[in-house]
Symmetry: C2
Subunit: 191 residues, 2 copies
DNA sequence: AATTTTATTAAATTATTTTTTAACGTATTT
DNA sequence: AAATACGTTAAAAAATAATTTAATAAAATT
C-alpha cells in the first residue's frame, strides 16, 4: 500500500504544478508568446535542475527541433539561459525563476524596442511635416493637417521618452523604491 | 502647376504618417496584436474625425466584417471607443490618442488579468502542496519537492501582488509622481 | 579516422488564424 | 409595409504559423 500512497502524492504534485503551468502559459499567450513556448518556460520554472533538449522533448511530448527553436526564443527574451555543467555534453538550460527579473527582461526589452522604433519614425515624420509646413506653396488645408500631426507627434515623443525612463527605472531597480516588493501578508507569515 | 505642388505635399504627408503607422503597427505586433488590427489603430490615430466602418474598409482596403471584428478588439483593449454624432446612423469610432492612456489600458488590463489568473492558480496549487506536506505517508523526496515548489510559489505570489499595485499606480496616475511626464527638451521648445 | 552523439537547418506537413463572401437580423427610411 | 442601409454572424477560402521528419553540420568519443 505504500507505493499506492506515493503515487497519489506525486499525482497531486503534478496536478498542483500543472495548474500553475497552465496559468503561466496562458499569461504569456496574452502577450503574444505562443502556447508551446509559454508552456516550455512554465515547465522549466518548476525544474530544480537544468534541462537538456531531450528532457524538454520528453516533458512536452514534442520534437527536438521544436524544443531547439522554442528554447532559443526564450533565450532571446532573456528568461532562459544556457548553463554549463561538468560532464554533460548536451546543452543545459535553466529558466529565470525570479519574476521581477522576468518582468524586467520581458517588458523592459520590448519597451526599449518600442521607444527606439517609434522615436525614429517620429523623427522621420516630423522632418517631412516641417518641410510641408515651411513650403509656402502648400495648400492651407494640407498645412493645417501637417500642423496637427506635428502637435500629436510631439505628444507621442514625450510618451516614448517616458517609456525610456520607465525602462531605466525597471532595469536599475529604482522602481522598487517607489513600489516596494512587499512580503506576503502576516496571516501567511506566522502560519 | 499649383495642383502639382499640392499633390506633392499630400503625398509627403501620407508618407510621413505612413512611417509612424508602420512603427505603431509593428509595436503592437510585438505584444501580440495582429498586424491588421494594429494598422487599423494606427490609421485611426491620425484621423481627426470619427470613422465609420466604411471609412476603415476604404482606408485599409479590407472587408467590412474584418473592420467590425477588428474594431471590436480595439474596443476591448479600450483604445478605441464608439462615439455618437447627430445625423449619422452609422457607428462612429475614435482612437485614444493619449499614449499614456493607451499604456494604462493596454498593460494595466493585461497585468490585472495576469495577476488574478496566476494568484488563483497559486492558491489552488499551494493548497494541494500543503496536503502533500502534511500527509505523513508522503515519500520524503516528494515532500521536499513540494516544499521547494511552495517556497517558489510564495515568491511568485509576492510578484503578483506587486503587479496589482503597479496596475493601481498606473491607473490612478500615481506612477507619474515617481516618473513624471516630461516636456520635450528645451532645444525643441524654443525652435 | 570512423563512429556516435548532439544540435540545427530545410522541406514538407499540419494546424491555426485571418480574411472574405454570403446570409441574417435589425433598424431606418420611404 | 416595402425597401434600403447597416452591422454582425456563419461558413468557406486564403494566408500564416507551428510542428515534424529528414537531412546536414559540428563536436566528441572510440
Amino acid at each position: 500500500m505504500e507505493g499506492k500512497k506515493q503515487q497519489k502524492a506525486e499525482e497531486l504534485l503534478e496536478q498542483a504544478e500543472g495548474a500553475v503551468i497552465d496559468a503561466i502559459a496562458e499569461t504569456m499567450d496574452l502577450y503574444g508568446v505562443t502556447p508551446s513556448i509559454g508552456r516550455l518556460y512554465a515547465t522549466m520554472y518548476f525544474k530544480h535542475d537544468p534541462l537538456t533538449l531531450d528532457d524538454m522533448k520528453d516533458d512536452l511530448g514534442m520534437s527536438k527541433p521544436s524544443m531547439s527553436t522554442a528554447v532559443r526564443k526564450l533565450q532571446e527574451i532573456n528568461i532562459v539561459k544556457k548553463v554549463w555543467k561538468k560532464g554533460s555534453r548536451k546543452d543545459l538550460f535553466v529558466a529565470e525563476k525570479n519574476f521581477f527579473q522576468y518582468f524586467s527582461h520581458f517588458f523592459g526589452d520590448k519597451w526599449e524596442r518600442e521607444a527606439k522604433l517609434n522615436l525614429s519614425a517620429i523623427d522621420y515624420a516630423e522632418e517631412m511635416l516641417q518641410q510641408i509646413i515651411n513650403n509656402d506653396d502648400t495648400e492651407e488645408e494640407v498645412k493645417q493637417r501637417a500642423e496637427q500631426d506635428l502637435r500629436q507627434l510631439e505628444e507621442y515623443r514625450i510618451y516614448c521618452h517616458w517609456l525610456e525612463r520607465l525602462v531605466h527605472s525597471v532595469e536599475s531597480g529604482e522602481i522598487f523604491e517607489f513600489l516596494p516588493i512587499e512580503e506576503a501578508s502576516s496571516k501567511d507569515n506566522n502560519k
